[in-house]
Amino acid sequence: MKNMSEIELFAPGHRACAGCGCSLSIRHALKALGKDVIVSEATGCMEVTSSPYPETAWRVPWIHVAFENAAAVASGVSRALKALGKTNVKSVALAGDGGTADIGMQALSGAMERGEDMLYICYDNEAYMNTGIQRSGATPFGAWTTTTPVGKVKRGEDRPKKDVPAIMIAHGSPYVATASIAYPVDFEKKIKKAASIKGPTYVHVQAPCVPGWRIEGNKTIEVARLAVLTGAWVLYEAEGGKINVTFKPANRRPVAEYLKSQGRYRHLSEQDIAAIQKVVDEQCKKFGID
């Protein structure tokens, strides 16, 4: 792909599942960032699969401390870099959706509010996949997880997905973007831009989880692309709070195509799908996609 670095800073041989969307997001993020970064990563799939002592997949300086504090650790890194006068090195925080939308929200909010010079990347696979597919605040309406099982009374997640990028925009972040691993050129462009801007920037990348979404390992990109093509996941960037949609799918496809591509939505009735379609339509209207 054009302008894409051939240097792999996230080494192969890590232990993520075949077809893992999140590991792809890290691979592309590092291609875009280059070597002059310090990554502070939250506990999660990507941390566990990339750093089993004495091995590591990280060819950039990397620290993992705990689940809820990637933004706080990255704040410390950022200030230490400032104190040392290392202006060429970027502090980058990395966390999953659980470490961002839920347990890490306080530390992230604090770092955003303080205006720390750092880039925060959330790889969003829409549930706690590392512990075995439990719902998070970022799990979408209707999705099956092990804590939102499909039973006689309740049928999957009954709350809509928490809108973390909107919360980041509300913090006054100079740059917030959403991305998808199915659109790596767009993703890398956004990462590069986010890293070049001083202050706390935020990129939220949707990345399917093969076991969690109940898909085949060779369908990851296809499913991620469907999320965008149906309008279920909107790609945009917000500079200074002003939202600009970066990809508008022509002839937007019905959300049923996206939902039916995944086992986690298998239980949905036509009525459920119609209700989700309505919400997606409203979302697309809001972003001016249609």
């Binding site: 993992h64 230490a80 104190a83």
Partner: protein
């Protein structure tokens, strides 16, 4: 030069004299004026440091970890609930072998809410892998914190300097403040050998599978246990340079004492007064003031106490469901030791309850009585408890 200052200012001044580069802290009573003082230093340009005004103590320690790993001298301060909130990160800081110095103004724990002094907070995190010192007065706070920076960076271990909330944090005393040039000569430039650096990337905080985890823990235990000699060495060097030293413990008229009080922190001053009083009356009473609780100096404790007939372990903490932490560790030190004194644990001063000289004297009398009769009776006793209130509450 002598200046009059409270304990919190002594802690803040030590951080300034150590030329810390990143401070990450959150206000909490009674530590708050440490944060305020540091903010003043930074705002006035007296201290060239980044001050991260975090949104919680958990983030305070997390940011310290990030900064220390990037290779700068790092400081934070807290108390009580704040220490509890950051406790998860205390284990991480020690496990990552990061040089971080923290002062803790000792305060009780909720519930019920209490902002007043005891040592339940730091006692609760004794197992975290931090070196833990307890100070008797404001001079000792300043001196110990300066020593802590040196010990921490030389051993790659985090160090916690504890002092009693209000009793020291908010009480002014004359403190001999060393000159910056003297401190610079004592404390070499910060140099962390494994810092996060794109030129030589390292991975920190890996997953320790069962094939490796125990060795990491063993090595950490070894490092904290072996820190004793470095602590003594740094204290000696400090004494040589500044004329003040504290050792790993202080023995006060204890060598020939029949009854010995064992204390940590500001209680030691009151206990010294009592020793003076009782010595004047011809009673063979002494004191051992423990400064280093982690590492726990078992051998020194045994050698300081084994000749006594009875030891009164006085402490402002309790491991609920058992006894005080100082007592438990002291008692454990005497396992398989031939000459073991009788030991009674006195729980006192919880939640800011005054520990009066008459309470201390009562403890000495009870210990003496146990020695004379050979009967210990209740091993764990509470001093200054309002029995009537307890009875009423118990219905």
């Amino acid at each position: 030069m002598k200046q009059v200052m409270d304990g919190n200012e002594a802690a803040a001044l030590a951080a300034k004299l150590a030329r810390v580069k990143v401070i990450s802290a959150y206000p909490i009573t009674p530590q708050t004026t440490v944060v305020e003082k540091l903010a003043d230093y930074v705002s006035n340009g007296d201290l060239d440091a980044e001050f991260i005004k975090v949104e919680s103590e958990h983030s305070a320690m997390s940011a310290c970890i990030g900064a220390a790993a990037t290779g700068v001298r790092t400081f934070t301060a807290t108390s009580s609930q704040g220490l509890m909130l950051m406790s998860e990160m205390l284990y991480a800081a020690a496990g990552l072998r990061l040089p971080i110095v923290m002062t803790n103004a000792n305060r009780s724990l909720s519930a019920p809410l209490s902002i007043w002094c005891d040592q339940q907070d730091s006692m609760a995190v004794r197992d975290s892998g931090w070196i833990q010192f307890y100070c008797e007065n404001n001079q000792e706070i300043l001196d110990t914190t300066l020593q802590a920076f040196k010990i921490s960076q030389e051993l790659l271990l985090p160090v916690m300097v504890c002092y009693d909330g209000y009793i020291l944090s908010h009480t002014v005393e004359p403190v001999d403040c060393p000159e910056q040039t003297e401190v610079d000569a004592f404390l070499p430039k910060h140099n962390y050998p494994y810092s996060l650096d794109p030129e030589k990337p390292v991975s920190m905080g890996a997953v320790g599978v069962p094939e490796y985890y125990m060795e990491f823990r063993y090595l950490l235990q070894k490092a904290v246990r072996n820190s004793k000699s470095k602590i003594i060495e740094v204290d000696r060097e400090f004494k040589k340079r500044f004329g003040r030293g504290y050792g790993i413990m202080e023995k006060y008229h204890s060598d020939d004492a029949e009854v010995i009080m064992l204390t940590m922190g500001s209680l030691s001053s009151s206990a010294k007064d009592l020793v003076d009083l009782l010595r004047k009356r011809g009673e063979k009473v002494g004191l051992v003031k423990l400064k280093s609780f982690r590492p726990f100096p078992n051998e020194e404790i045994v050698s300081a106490l084994s000749h006594a007939k009875a030891v009164a372990v006085l402490e402002k903490d309790i491991s609920l469901g058992h006894a005080g932490g100082l007592y438990l560790d002291t008692a454990a030190s005497f396992v398989n030791i031939e000459h073991t004194p009788l030991m009674i644990n006195f729980i006192c001063g919880l939640g800011g309850r005054d520990v009066t000289s008459s309470q201390l004297e009562q403890a000495v009398r009870e210990a003496k009585n146990a020695a004379e009769t050979g009967k210990v009776g209740e091993r764990v006793r509470w001093l200054g408890l309002q029995e009537k209130l307890v009875e009423e509450a118990s219905g």
